[in-house]
């Protein structure tokens, strides 16, 4: 029987220069990091670059990882911070070149999404709705609803009080429910 090494064991080996251990960590967590980054940025070519960036930052800070939190939580924190930086850069670029603030989300009628291919349009609409959220609200939605962290964990990752997480989540979900009403009503 082969024992699967824990994340902490792999981190210890990676610190000592074992690149295979780091690769195993990378393969273990890459989907989770990609989902977090994609939740923050939406469907974008930036996702791939940012996931790479997250793991490079992780590698550079391996010595600083004390094991207080799970490896996945630590990676999620790096992913959220990197995504917030990317969103800030994106906003600066947008302000410099073109204003997309006037972009409106056109909502479909209930029952519009009947076929499999329409799921892509639905994903686009959800991404648009997420883009309308403020970055810090989006981070709370991604952590709580997409990644499934608890309120306490989300608060720790973002470095904010739990009450702030709850209020941001409440406001963000109310907005999303409002804007995505027809999509949510499909299966009622």
């Amino acid at each position: 029987m082969t024992l699967i090494p824990s994340d902490d064991t792999l981190i210890g080996r990676a610190r000592e220069g074992d690149q295979n251990a780091f690769r195993e960590l990378l393969e273990r967590h890459q989907q989770m990091v990609a989902r977090t980054v994609a939740g923050m940025l939406g469907a974008s070519a930036e996702v791939d670059d940012l996931v790479q960036e997250v793991f490079i930052r992780f590698y550079k800070t391996l010595d600083r990882f004390r094991g207080d939190a799970a490896c996945s939580t630590y990676l999620t924190r790096i992913a959220i911070n990197a995504s917030l930086d990317a969103l800030r850069r994106r906003k600066r670029m947008r302000l410099r070149f073109v204003s997309r603030d006037d972009e409106t989300v056109t909502l479909p009628e209930p029952g519009f999404y009947d076929t499999e291919t329409d799921r892509f349009d639905r994903a686009e609409l959800i991404n648009l709705a997420m883009n309308k959220l403020k970055p810090h609200h989006r981070a709370v939605v991604v952590l709580r609803l997409v990644d499934g962290y608890s309120t306490a964990e989300a608060a720790e990752i973002l470095g904010i009080p739990q009450g702030t997480v709850l209020s941001r989540l409440s406001r963000a979900t109310a907005y999303l429910r409002d804007i995505l009403g027809p999509v949510l009503a499909e299966e009622d």
């Binding site: 393969e27 980054v37 991604v142 609803l145 999303l176 949510l184």
Partner: protein
């Protein structure tokens, strides 16, 4: 008339959560290029040998210049050695390599009239 208790807000929250997850998964799949692990590991390897990488890059960039310089120097040394064979006085190794005329009492005081003709009225 439907008399079931309304559970729409809760259903909507669950459905919203499920849609957000599906969308994030789809966006992640569409945004990722193949061989992510390989690409990251290549960057990690470069991070591990920054100094070696730097000198390697420098050597690769300047290799043609370095080779041409070595050939030029060897050419000059060969030429100087060839020319120094005709000197009457045996030159030292330094004089041969740098192509210097051997300095003797004779050569130091043997300035001919031709050399003074331009400066002496």
């Amino acid at each position: 008339m439907d008399l079931r208790p309304s559970s729409k807000p809760k259903d909507h929250n669950l459905r919203l959560q499920s849609l957000l997850r599906q969308t994030a998964e789809m966006s992640a799949k569409s945004g990722m290029q193949p061989f992510l692990a390989d690409r990251i590991m290549r960057r990690v390897q470069i991070l591990n040998q920054p100094e070696e990488q730097f000198w390697q890059t420098l050597w690769l960039a300047f290799r043609p210049v370095a080779l041409a310089s070595v050939l030029l120097i060897l050419g000059f040394v060969s030429y100087n050695t060839f020319v120094s064979r005709n000197y009457e006085v045996e030159p030292t190794t330094t004089e041969i390599v740098f192509g210097l005329q051997p300095l003797t009492l004779t050569t130091a005081y043997s300035a001919g009239l031709d050399e003074f003709s331009l400066t002496t009225p």
